[in-house]
Amino acid sequence: MTGARPMTRLFASLLLALTAIFHAKGRAALTVLGILIGIAAVVIVSALGTGVQQRVKSQIESLGSNVIFVFPQSNQRSGARGARGGGGRLTENDGRAIVREATSVSTVVPFLQAQAQVVALEKNVMTNVVASTRRYLEVRGFSVASGANFTEADERLKAKVCLLGATTKENLFGDADAVGQIVRIGRYPFRVLGVLARKGQLPSGEDQDDRIVMPAPTFRSRIVPTAPGRVHTLLVSASDPLTVGRASAQIDAILRQRHHIAPEDEPDFGIHTQAEFLKTQEQIFGTLRALLLGIALVALGVGGIGVMNIMLVSVTERTREIGIRMAIGARERDVRMQFLVEAVTLCLFAGILGTLVAFGAIVALARMLGWSMLLLPQALLLALGVSVGTGIVFGFWPAHRASRLDPIEALRHE
């Protein structure tokens, strides 16, 4: 019997709270709006955090964590720094030197790209034309879904052949088979040798499957007239994900030597590793998270003050009721518990609604922006915990005031 007492009292308090809230629905709904927004933000933040981690992991797998991007970069102080392809030059000979001399590098492929109009039958799309060697697929982790890759002979003969990314193929041919078909790029007809397997989006949101791949010599003579051997980027594959750092250092040394740049001078090329891309990504998401967390805290604070206000109103309105309860034997802690449970219940309602709103937002964001976000059970526990915490923090003072009322005064209250 003694053991059942606290539960009996708590259950009774909960029922009371529900009744009281039900009798002031409109007021309660307006009050909890702030809490609702705050909790929604908390849930989205935690889902975003989890989503980013998952995303980073899957992208390392998708891109290959051992890929290093080397691109020319202006080193003139007056020039526009950081713009890829501006200023310096990079050639296939640089690439050959890297493969020959850098011990931690396994493969180097050239990379050129341009936007181009592609026409097949009556379909006409703008897409990304990428040029490299046949080993490009292996470096970037693409595979041929149907048909075949181009060959060394195709490269040497500047053959007008190409591979279609999954999205491009769909845009041009729909469900029909594309292998062996002819597409027109610019002024020239190209034969489709193969279609690539789908790979998904890049961290930047770019669709990796919206592209056409062709041999670099073909690109230089048919798409964008370019000096032989010139590349936009060199894609370097480190021999192992763990040696990416060492490979970068080796590339830097080799290219400085070939381009006659002293170690203390600014190079005319840039080196980007996958880790750096991911770091940038994380920074962006980190900022977003901090922002949302800020919103969450402000909303919870404002909402909490709203709850405190409404509880003070509730205590004043129900002064006589408090007096009656005290007269028939409610102790201070009983009254305090009653109003505290009411505040917590109010916040818990808001928390549950906020979680639902967050769930909707997460699904919408995932659809619209392709952000992968994960809602873990821990996030739900966090939301409920924060709701209860807000209720206790902001409900305590009104509840304490109620418990300190003088029963005689309270009974006289109209």
Partner: protein, 251 residues
Amino acid sequence: MDPPLIELDRVEKDYHAGSIVVRALLDVTLHVGRGELVAIVGASGSGKSTMMNILGCLDRPTRGRYRLDRVEVGNRSGDGRAIVRNRLIGFVFQGYNLLPRASALENVELPLVYRGIGRRERRERARAALAQVGLGHRAHPTPNQLSGGQQQRVAIARALVTSPSLLLADEPTGNLDTRTSYEVLALLQQLNRDGGITILLVTHEPSIAACASRIVTMRDGRILSDAKNQALDAAELLADLGGVNDLPDSA
């Protein structure tokens, strides 16, 4: 011999209104035995409400001693007095003081909630108490669906449900017409006579006080007189009015 249920010895109460001290009770000594039905009468400002608050453990005396049921209760803290109110005292007020949103049954259950009694036992005891005041069939309406007399009977049931040693009725007929007043009085007399419960009845109406077997008159914070009274039977007065007695049969 058993000590009296109420032992109020040389009790005084001061109120501070700014720099002025209002002496609301002066040297009040009152002993009430078990099973008595005592009326406390006096004009407003005579100190009867103050004495009622102290007797009901809603307030503490400034000086003097108050023992209830052999227990020293006058000097207890807030929570200590709350427990005494819950265990030893039942209150009936002029304005009924029922919770408007709760049903009659839930109102009657309330003191048992604060005693930590489980739901099923609460229900049983509340139903029994409602039956005792003749409202066994009116358990579910909320107070505003009941007449004044019925509401006051619900309040009496709420006071009885804990089986208190003392029932304090503060102007219990103040809001009721004559017939309903006698009904409520008849109920209190019946509870006193058959249940042996001690009742203190605060009133300013001589016709109500006439139904008590002892009348204590207050004036200016002191007890002016304390005398036995040949109590009138409220049920007979009710019958004289030609009223219908719908109280439960005394058994």
